[in-house]
């Protein structure tokens, strides 16, 4: 079946006088198949919101092509927008209107019957707060209102930017159930952005991971996790000073290895055999005192995939991540900030 969303080579450069141009999107690709819940995952500032804004015609782009439901956008956006519900970056509403009035005006503007307003308010759990002004809403209530407005049109495609933002556990659970019901029972295609792999793992069928405005991986969530989780090995030395030397030795010796130095230990993933590590290090007169095989948690998979693993003793700056395939770029240059 043809993809519902097709983005290829999307570019967006922010230019400011007297500054280096900033490539928020650097040839990004994204493909979403019908009827699935697709996760759009990436660290802060990786360009998720920018992509969704471009897709919905809110900002112009500097290259690349986009299609929604087979129609080229933004040129044909007005023709397909009736089939797309969207929430971009916790939208704000006029504060002095009630939640209900906000939705009624939107519904009226698109010729949707007013009865639908109460249905969606019920669906997102805002029935009892419908008459309060938006000003009095909490963060999670505003987020729910935003999702409610995206459901008004009974969309075929739902695009949600961090829908779980600000929701309590019950709200997250409810949202997950709602989205899965929409996708699997109602045939709605759902694209959700997030920076939490655990959330995506629970909610989505497939995902795309982006970093620095580029796609790094995409595919079924289960496949990606299977390919990357596996195990990692934690290596300790008697003298913590040997850690950095050991990093160099291992990087030189093995392909496809990810070696991360922590304060007093090394984390190695991608090596199949603990004996190989022991031998390689011993050949260079580095004798380890402890080698433990650990199952990687989702957090470290995400850090590994997006290249945002923290270096010992240094804070990770936004935009410092590097695509895993491009190790030179791990060096933070600061030139693009």
């Amino acid at each position: 079946m043809a993809p519902v969303i097709e983005i290829s080579g999307l570019r967006k450069t922010y230019r400011k006088l007297m500054r280096q141009p900033h490539h928020a999107l650097d040839g990004l690709d994204l493909e979403v198949r019908p009827g699935e819940v697709h996760g759009f995952l990436g660290p802060n500032g990786s360009g998720k919101t920018t992509t969704l804004r471009a897709l919905l015609g809110l900002i112009g782009t500097d290259g690349g092509s986009m299609r929604i439901l087979g129609e080229e956008v933004p040129r044909r956006l007005p023709q397909v927008v009736g089939r797309v519900g969207a929430v971009v970056e916790s939208p704000q509403f006029f504060k002095h209107f009630s939640g209900r009035l906000t939705l009624r005006i939107l519904a009226e503007s698109a010729g949707i019957p007013a009865t639908r307003v109460d249905e969606v308010l019920e669906q997102v759990g805002l029935r009892d707060q419908a008459r309060q002004t938006v000003k009095s809403y909490s963060l999670g209530m505003r987020q729910r209102l935003a999702v409610a407005q995206s459901l008004l049109k009974r969309p075929e495609l739902l695009v949600l930017d961090e829908p779980a933002n600000g929701l309590d556990p019950a709200g997250i659970h409810h949202m997950r159930a709602l989205l899965q019901w929409l996708a699997h029972e109602q045939g709605v295609t759902v694209l959700v952005s997030s920076h939490l792999l655990s959330e995506v793992q629970q909610l989505c069928d497939s995902m795309t991971i982006v970093s620095r405005g580029r796609r790094i991986v995409d595919g079924k969530v289960a496949d990606i996790l299977a390919g990357h989780s596996g195990s990692q090995m934690s290596v300790r030395f008697a003298d913590p000073a040997e850690v950095s030397e050991a990093v160099e030795v291992l990087m030189e010796a093995g392909d496809n290895l990810t070696v991360t130095a922590e304060r007093d230990r090394l984390l190695v993933s991608g090596a199949s055999d603990p004996a190989w590590i022991t031998k390689t290090l011993a050949d260079r007169s580095l004798y380890l005192t402890e080698l433990v095989t650990e199952t990687k948690n989702l957090e470290s998979v995400f850090l590994e995939l997006t290249g945002t693993a923290p270096q010992a003793g240094r804070a990770v700056q936004v935009g410092q991540s590097a695509p895993a395939a491009d190790p030179e770029m791990t060096v933070p240059t600061g030139a693009d900030r």
Binding site: P91, Q92, L101, I105, L106
Partner: protein, 333 residues
């Protein structure tokens, strides 16, 4: 069409609309009441008699002075001959200065009579322009608040055809403005006519009067609508209500004065032609004549409603075009 209806709805549900509506209505009632209080249907016979007596007394004083060559030797008036100011004057001229000659009954009648035929149109068109000012603020706040609250991005997600959104917003603003002006003008007409009928003079409203009045009121309505479009455009350009309001208030209060002062300072002829108020006056009253004495002779310059229409329309058009261009091209959010 749905979008237009929704925009009208948005206007109607704003608190500012309610506040302006109440203030406008109360202001109109208050104004009529004050006018009714001040106006009186001509003086009574007693007042006329009193005024006639005072005028007669003054004229008698003058006559006495003029006929009596030795009037100023009287100790009461001897100070006059010591005053150098009167040195070169004839006796009669001095008398005329001390006792205004030919005093008339009207000079002592301090009664204001509201005359609908003469004053009605001017007042009503002034009220229409004030309503236009409120409509301009309201329209700019609707657009500006939508930008600053972040609601605009959401609206554009619903309606990506930006020109349709802009068109609907302008059309809704114009509808609200026109409805408000027509309603207030009708109400003001009735109230002022009542005041005139009860406590003043209505005069005769003949065909010529109606023609002039309708012309003025139509032009006032057009001005109010132009102001509404200008308010929306400024808010669209600045993406904030305060920017639009600030620009408008700043220009009308400070900018206009500065431009006129610059005109005076540079010794330009007819400095008042740089004032927006002059052009607004010309547009509504149909013709304004400026005078200038800076040269050897008096020179005049006439501004007609057509000139003013071209200038004011041009200003509105330029800002609307800029706003349209900026909305179409710039990133939203």
């Amino acid at each position: 069409m749905n979008l237009y209806k929704a925009e009208i709805h948005r206007f109607a549900r704003r608190r500012l609309s309610l506040i302006f509506g109440i203030c406008g209505f109360a202001g109109l009632l208050l104004f009529s009441a004050v006018l009714a209080f001040n106006s009186q249907t001509g003086p009574t016979e007693a007042e006329r008699a009193e005024a006639r007596e005072m005028a007669d007394n003054l004229n008698a004083d003058y006559d006495r002075c003029a006929e009596d060559e030795e009037f100023f030797e009287d100790p009461e008036h001897v100070w006059v001959s010591e005053e150098p100011h009167f040195d070169d004057m004839t006796h009669e001229e001095i008398c005329a200065e001390l006792f205004p000659a030919q005093a008339q009954e009207e000079d002592f009648l301090y009664v204001y009579t509201f005359h609908f035929e003469n004053e009605g149109t001017g007042i009503i068109s002034g009220i229409a322009v004030l309503v236009g000012l409120l409509a301009m603020l309201l329209a700019s706040s609707v657009v500006g608040a939508e930008w600053s609250s972040g609601g605009m991005a959401n609206l554009l997600v619903w309606h990506p055809a930006r020109m349709r959104v802009w068109g609907a917003k302008l059309a809704a603003g114009l509808t609200v403005c026109a409805a408000a002006v027509v309603a207030v003008v009708a109400l003001a007409f009735v109230l002022l006519y009542l005041v005139a009928a009860l406590r003043g003079e209505t005069g005769t409203l003949d065909a010529a009067w109606w023609q002039d009045a309708l012309g003025r009121l139509t032009r006032s309505l057009a001005l109010a609508m132009g102001m509404t479009v200008l308010g929306s455009s400024l808010a669209m350009l600045g993406r904030h209500t305060a920017i639009a309001g600030g620009v408008i208030a700043g220009y009308l209060v400070v900018g206009d004065l500065l431009v006129r002062l610059a005109g005076f300072a540079l010794n330009v002829k007819f400095p008042n032609r740089f004032s927006l108020y002059t052009w607004v006056d010309a547009w509504i009253s149909g013709r304004v004549t400026l005078r200038d004495w800076s040269g050897r002779f008096e020179e005049t310059m006439t501004l007609t409603a057509t000139d003013a229409g071209l200038l004011l329309g041009g200003i509105v058009l330029v800002f609307t075009a800029l706003a349209t261009w900026s909305f179409a091209r710039r990133d939203a959010s």
